[in-house]
Amino acid sequence: MGRAMVRIIYREIAGGAAFWGPLAGLGLLILVGLYSAWYMEHYGHIVTGMGNRIVWGIPHVFAIFLIVAASGVLNVASIGSVFGRVPYKPMARLSGLLAIALLTGGLTVLVLDLGRPDRLIVAMTTYNFKSIFAWNIFLYTGFLVIVAAYLFVLMERQMSPYSKPVGWFALIWRVVLTSGTGSIFGWLVARQAYDAAIMAPLFIALSLSLGLAVFILVVWTICRWEGRELGSGLLSRLGRLLGIFAGVVLYFTAIQHLTNLYSAEHWGVEAFLLWDGGVYPGLFWLVQVLLGGLLPIALVFHPKTASKPGAIVSAASLVILGGLAQLYVIIIGGQAYPLVMFPGMEVHSVFQDGVIASYAPSLPEFGLGIGGVALALAITLVGMKILRFVPQSLADKTVDPPPAAAEAKAA
Amino acid sequence: MGSRLLVVFGFLAAIGVAWHGPFPIFSQAVAAETGQSGRVPVPAPARGKGDACVADTDFMRRNHMAVLNHQRDDTVHEGVRTKRFSLKECIDCHAVNGADGVPVTVEDPKHFCRSCHDYAAVSVDCFQCHASRPDTAAMSVSPDEAAALSLRTYLAGVTR
């Protein structure tokens, strides 16, 4: 009746050149990131492409990507603990590790981009609780603690009865956290491209999609490096779930823009983002919708490609690319469009009122953003080496043994 | 492994005790080093204007930061602009003139705050935002001129 109980064995990843080589590379990128942060702090933000109109740039695109993906990558563990799907349970530990790693990377980028990063202590002790940003600081650091607790109950055999309640708590915390991240933009009444309740659920969908895409890439990569089996059935299953999440992202995006298009007030910003805004429509239609949405969905569902690991991994990479483009359009496109202070009037001033702001990302910004990604990957790599996060095998018959075999055994 | 750690730690602890503690021979040597022999600079802050500071030196040495922190919150949030612990007043009195007779900024090691803060290796954050020397032009106008200007503004306003 039930499934045969196949015991999942977890093992640390091997050391040697396959570990130290990539770690050294990541370490170098982290150093580049730290140097970029020092350079920006020492000379001031004038060395970046950000100014008084575009105040959040490439570092924030990376930071929010990492933070949103961190929340979503834990979904793999939630599906196992909270929703009881057996094939997902062996992947829960790695999902938790990735959640901590990605969030740490994202927070590091965010903090190092601050105008006064030396005042981090102030940010962690002085709160204005009317600010969703303040709540997010609290939610992010709390998330790290909760995932650590979640990993503890997952990895300590005697604590396994607690994995469901802790899993539920982590799930609810994650929904609040990601809604909060979306609301950072959604609650800004001032800007035409924001000020929308849909930003919260859009970010939830984005987190699920991006988190799963990152998870697929990491688990496939590490299984290949370590020579551990990753069942094509499991991978296809993850791929189909990714396709569903990518579809939900497309849905919320469509609703957001269709709603805006219906009101004359928002025609200006919609024309800018979707039609004549230069780089923004290009990123939106080509990278976000086509490459990051429609193509991956086709890859994971089309019968010719659905069972091929290469196609699933490509789909995951494309979803990540699309997610970065989507965040760029939201964060930077939303700032590039001018504030509408005098509706219907043509506005002009020395402070760039009434004009589309231009933004040219600078090298330190990319350095910092990529440094954050490298930090997240380095934490994951080191974690997998020291503790038992990765199952010995994720073969289909191991994670999802067929019920027929159990009945035959029982008989 | 554990015993090796213990030996190293114990050695370091012994050095620390000897340096500061009941064996005066070491601390005397240190005192002689950092005293008048000149190997380590001793802070010699310049005298401020007037007879005395707004509080006695010992109090100020220990508490000037607490006093300034409290004053800044009062000034910024409550608009309290008492002069006693105002940073601007401190700078006005404690300005150190350079070779050209003009007060030096915090870039110059002769600056009053730096003479102790360099020694103690405690970085001073204030002057990223605050002017580190009195504004030689002081207010843009004198108080009487300011009152007359305000009056003219008011008159121009009501008589339109």
Partner: protein
């Protein structure tokens, strides 16, 4: 506009006003000088705006609510007096035009595409009663003083720039490079956000903001500063007598700065 509320041609209005000015100015100047002579500690606030300047050791209260009234009809196209005055007062560059340069106040030119009518007006922090910048600041560095002036506490500001995203008027600037020789009464530094302070250091001494003073003294006299809580103040009387608007009034922010003829 004349006393009956009709719009007059500028030359007619000016001519009429000059006679008014000379008559009333004499009376007021006489009493003003007398007042100054009698009570040296009392400034213009004796004249219907505030009984006396708040003592230095007393905390500010919500008894007053400072505001401004700007008449765009009197604002000269090409005149930059307010901007220059603010820049000189606080130590930033009025002529700088790169996206990283600070502007606490700027002149905005409007043009109505229907018919081509042009107007110009100064734009600065609107000192809202419900400021979005105060709501979003994670550390509470962006705050509203009891008397309505919205400020940045630069000791607490971490430079996250979220308030700049939230401000509906693009009123805030970020300091993008190290600064030196700041004005002692206007501290500003790299990595923090700043905006118009309504010359809080002047207001606390009973003076007027630099922009208002410069406009009255050397330009069109388009700006008026006063206590919105005092029904007898000039600004309150004017707001009660003719139509004034807030910019982006639909956001319901109850700004301290109001405009006329925009």
């Amino acid at each position: 506009m004349n006393k009956l509320g009709d719009t007059e041609r500028p030359e007619v209005a000016d001519a009429r006003e000059q006679t008014d000015v000379s008559r009333r100015a004499f009376l007021r100047a006489a009493s003003a000088l007398g007042g100054l002579a009698l009570a040296p500690g009392v400034t213009l606030y004796a004249f219907g705006q505030e009984a006396e300047v708040r003592p230095a050791d007393q905390a500010v209260t919500s008894q007053h609510r400072w505001g401004m009234l700007i008449d765009a009809g009197r604002c000269g196209d090409g005149c930059n007096a307010c901007v220059t005055a603010c820049a000189d007062e606080h130590g930033w560059d009025a002529d700088a035009a790169s996206p990283t340069d600070a502007h606490w106040i700027r002149k905005v030119e409007l043009r109505d595409p229907e018919g081509g009518l042009k107007r110009t007006l100064p734009m600065m922090c609107q000192h809202c009663a419900s400021p979005p910048c105060v709501d979003v600041c994670p550390t509470g560095a962006s705050f509203k003083r009891a008397d309505g002036i919205v400020l940045v506490d630069k000791h607490t500001c971490i430079g996250c720039r979220y308030c700049m995203m939230a401000c509906p008027y693009n009123a805030r600037s970020f300091v993008h490079e190290p600064l030196a020789d700041q004005k002692p009464y206007a501290p500003r530094g790299k990595g923090t956000v700043e905006s118009c302070t309504m010359c809080v250091h002047r207001v606390d001494e009973g003076r007027q903001p630099a922009c208002v003073e410069a406009c009255a003294d050397t330009a069109g006299g388009a700006m008026l500063f006063g206590d919105l809580n005092d029904p007898d103040s000039e600004i309150s009387k004017r707001i009660a007598s003719y139509a004034t608007v807030e910019i982006r009034a639909d956001l319901d922010l109850d700004t301290g700065v109001r405009y006329r003829n925009i």
